[in-house]
Symmetry: C2
Amino acid sequence: MTEVEKQTEDRIFESATEIFMEKGMDGARMKDIANHAGINKALLHYYYRTKEHLFEAVFEKMAAVVFSRFTPVFDENATLEEKIRFFFREHISFLQKNPRLPAFILNEINRNPDRMKKLLQRFSINEVWDNLERLHHDELIRYNITREMMPQLMTSIAAISIFPFAAKGILEVLFEKSGYDYNDYLEKRKDFAADFVIRAIKGPDHGRNEKEQPLEKPSLHKGDLLVKAQQTSGNKGKRKNI
Amino acid sequence: MTEVEKQTEDRIFESATEIFMEKGMDGARMKDIANHAGINKALLHYYYRTKEHLFEAVFEKMAAVVFSRFTPVFDENATLEEKIRFFFREHISFLQKNPRLPAFILNEINRNPDRMKKLLQRFSINEVWDNLERLHHDELIRYNITREMMPQLMTSIAAISIFPFAAKGILEVLFEKSGYDYNDYLEKRKDFAADFVIRAIKGPDHGRNEKEQPLEKPSLHKGDLLVKAQQTSGNKGKRKNI
DNA sequence: CATACTTTTGACCATTCGGTTAAACCATAT
DNA sequence: ATATGGTTTAACCGAATGGTCAAAAGTATG
């Protein structure tokens, strides 16, 4: 009973995720989701009252997954340079397993900005800045990174990691025409991106106080920094949301 | 007659552009486009047989505009560094005037990959690589940029310029919460992005043959490089496409 | 004015969509 | 076995959608 219930509910959620990710909110059909889950269409409305509710559930879960991959890297103890390397390695690897995520989030945010506004209410961006300034005070000074250029730096890092997936459809075609392999490109990007950003930070005319050598370099292992995406669990009980 | 015809046809196209850009192919309603253009719904089908045809026309025009802003910078005579600066200045300025373009293209490409495949058939990416290698042979060697890392470099540049607009919805909210202004961020990004990329290219452990000074530095003026987006003209005659 | 043509419209159509309902189903507790 | 409660279904509904059509309106030419 609870077993079966959980099964169908999960099957609905997973099917909805798949369909919504592929077609988007507007393009997805409730019928298709039901068929994909192998159930009657009415059952969708039994668990999630409306299409909007079902979509909201999927979107929030996906957004949570995305953001949980962004923040934790900033909290740990390691060199800024090491963190950058670690971030690109882990983040690109993560997106390789979820290549549709960036386009999905970017698209739906653009389609309904209020959703993001509501969702980001909880997220404290200032904490990120503060942590960065606290944990990497010396490095930021050495590299001449002021607080007002943090958004520039952060969005550049995010862009370099996310864009190859958001623009996957273009790049695959473009690369194929000139003999490059998209997957190979992604694999190499993990290191390239890190080198690129680190060079940009330390580069000439920028890291003016650079004479001093890096103080310590605690080695980082996969899994040290990232936490699992917290399961949004899903409200139990018969129906979801209002 | 021809005057009026052109008027309505253009009004349809412009209205369609606006609605499609905001809602996407799936979210847009023919009724809304007709209302926005101040005409009868049937008239849409008179000029463009189907929604698909109308969308195709809009999409191809927008894609042409986007790509026309990407390539010409590579053809001219200037330092690689100067070209990078010029590109970011012009490209970000262009996107400031068309902020919805990136999300629109990225989204619809993802939604219908075949469209891109068809559209990029004409576009010769190899010419871009060849031109780059020919015009900047010395610089590429000096900066240690191999042909196989060109895609990495190019996509990074594109990413840094495009992402702030594709993710506008997120960034605006995030910035507001921490006291940054989005428009100010964009303005500053024109220089930051250029500095960032140039530092990354010339940075330590990379530009090994860097002792030699830049050979010449022809100054670049706005308008030197960019060509107008070639008008896709629009087939005359009563109806478009099949 | 009469003719011939294109442009524009209001009414209409078939289909599809998200959503509802009442009844059937099924597992458990009494 | 039967009453109880959640679960699942087939059938149905009204609204909206993309699209059609025949007639009206407009315009140029004789």
